[in-house]
Each structure stands twice: as C-alpha cells, then as structure tokens.
C-alpha cells in the first residue's frame, strides 16, 4: 500500500473527503444502472413463466371439460 496507515489512506492529507466521496457517488450510480435491468429481467421472466403456467392449466381444464 502507498499509505502508511488506514487513517492516512482515509485522510489522504486533507483530500480524503473529495476522493472517497467521488468514488462513493460513482459506485452508487453504477450499482443502480446495473441493478435496474437485472431486477426488471427477473420480474419480466417471472411474469412470462406465470402466464405460461396459466395457459397450460387452462388447456388442461378445457380438455377435462370436453
């Protein structure tokens, strides 16, 4: 490590707030743009699977009725 201690690395001779702040905000933004499609795909897939099951059971019910 370039710094002598963890405290030094956090302080970065007075610039720590800026540097760690910039990284934190960037990671929050990246986290959200990454999470949005992942969660959306999950919800959509669950919907499609449910719809397929519904169709299947409707078909079975129709066959039983006839």
């Amino acid at each position: 490590m370039y710094f002598d201690s963890v405290a030094d690395a956090l302080a970065m001779s007075g610039h720590g707030v800026f540097v760690w702040g910039a990284y934190s905000i960037s990671f929050v933004i990246i986290f959200f743009v990454l999470l949005r499609p992942v969660m959306s795909i999950r919800t959509l897939n669950a919907g499609i699977r449910q719809e397929a099951l519904r169709k299947q059971s409707a078909q079975v019910a129709q066959q039983n009725a006839s």
């Binding site: 490590m1 370039y2 710094f3 690395a9 970065m12 001779s13 007075g14 610039h15 720590g16 800026f18 540097v19 702040g21 910039a22 990284y23 905000i25 960037s26 933004i29 990246i30 959200f32 743009v33 990454l34 949005r36 499609p37 992942v38 959306s40 795909i41 959509l44 897939n45 919907g47 499609i48 699977r49 719809e51 397929a52």
Partner: protein, 244 residues
C-alpha cells in the same frame, strides 16, 4: 461476413448471445472495477502537484472516455435504425442512452468534486465542462423524446435523428481543451507520441478505462436483454427458452 451481420439483426440470436456472455462478464467486470479502484486509491503513487486529489482520475477519465465512445454506439445504432429500419438497432440505441447518461453524470460529478480542491470551484462554465453537460442533455433528451411519443415507430425515428445531430458535439468535447483557453487540462495519454504520465499511474488508468468499456458492454447486454424480454414476451422462442 453477411451472415454475421444478419445475425446481429436477429432478436433470438442476440438474446442467446447476451444470455451466454452476461454470466461471466458480470463477475469479471465487478472484480476488475473493485480491483482497479483499490489500485488507484491505495497503491498508485501521489501526484507531486495535486497530491491525493488526483486519484479521482481513475474514475473520472474512464467514465468520460466511455461516455464519448458510448455516444458513437448510440448514434451508429440510430443510423442503422433510420436507414435500414432494423428494429433491433432501435432497441440498441435506447439501451445505450441511460448508460451514456450515467457515465456522463459520473464524469461531471467526479469532475466537480475534483475541481473544488484543484481549481477552488465546484463548477466553471468552461468549454470542456459545458460541452460535457450538453452531452448529458443529449443522452437524457433521447430517453425523454422516446417517452414523449405515443407512436413508438415515430419516436424511434425522432430519437435516431436527435442522436445523429448530436454527434457534432463529440469532436467539440474532444477538441475543446485545444480550441479554447480552458481550465481543464489537455489529454495526458496520447496514441501518437509519448504520454505525459508515468507508468505507475498509467497502468491503473488504462486498466480502469478497459474496465469501464467492459462495464458498458455488460450494461448494454443487460438493457438489450431486458428490452427483448419486454418486446417478445409473447413469442414462442422466448417462452421455449425460459421453459427450458
């Protein structure tokens, strides 16, 4: 060759491709992102002039570089959608817009934070920074314009035209530090000639630039997969694939 180009226009093929690549690209990108940040934050040497505040470079420059490159991806997809009416190109254009907006936002925010200790101001109406802000509005404009139209075919065409017209901004951003007197420093890395940056700082920076490109590709595939799932929810190929 034509077969490969043809495949890029086929939604099932693109969906399968994304499905195959995402599971290994996601962990690699996340590890590289964390590793590169640790390298830049803790292991790269301090700058003799700016001190430790310069460490923001490892996130600011990659975000800015890929924000510009991403615009070409969006505009090129817009061109293909406009000229050849490929529906998938229109999907790709819309997939690129939010990623570009996020990258530009990161570049602007980290730039503002870097500006405070270095220039003494969070914001200056400088050529580079102002043209970057316009880039952000172009990305957001494409997203908003698509939502504004009821007819999605017309919306896609309008977005494609906006993104194509907006390409004029990219060389302006790139050259702004040379054309105008600017607070913003000119590029330190050059493809021709020697770079004005030491290897101990250059390698983590190049690593982070490559990582941000990989992240862009990953996000692009995730957004494409999401849009395709939405558009083809009723199709036989997707239902078959999800049932498997």
């Amino acid at each position: 060759m034509w077969r490969i180009i043809h495949q890029f226009g086929s939604p099932p093929w693109v969906y399968r491709f994304c499905d195959k690549v995402i599971p290994w690209l996601m962990p690699i990108t996340i590890v590289a992102l964390l590793g590169g940040s640790v390298w830049g934050l803790l292991f790269a040497p301090t700058d003799y002039k700016q001190g430790d505040s310069y460490r923001i470079i490892y996130i600011h420059v990659p975000a800015a570089v890929v924000a510009l490159a991403g615009y070409y991806v969006m505009a090129l997809a817009g061109l293909v959608s406009l000229v050849w009416r490929v529906k998938l190109a229109d999907t790709a254009m819309r997939a690129a817009a939010p990623i570009g907006a996020a990258y530009t936002a990161i570049a602007l925010i980290t730039g503002a934070i870097w500006g405070k200790p270095t220039w003494g101001a969070w914001w200056v109406w400088d050529a580079r920074i102002t043209s970057m802000l316009i880039l952000f509005f172009l990305y957001v404009g494409v997203i908003a314009l698509f939502e504004a139209y009821e007819n999605k075919t017309v919306a896609a065409r309008a977005c494609a035209i906006l993104s194509l017209v907006g390409t004029v901004n990219i060389p302006i951003i790139y050259k702004s530090v040379d054309w105008w007197y600017s607070l913003h420093q000119p590029a330190s890395i050059k493809f021709t000639g020697s770079s004005a940056i030491d290897a101990s700082m250059l390698y983590p920076l190049l690593g982070m630039i490559i990582t941000f490109y990989a992240l862009f590709a990953l996000l692009m595939m995730l957004n494409l997969k999401q849009s395709l799932t939405e558009e083809y929810a009723q199709s036989a190929w997707l239902n078959k694939r999800l049932a498997a």
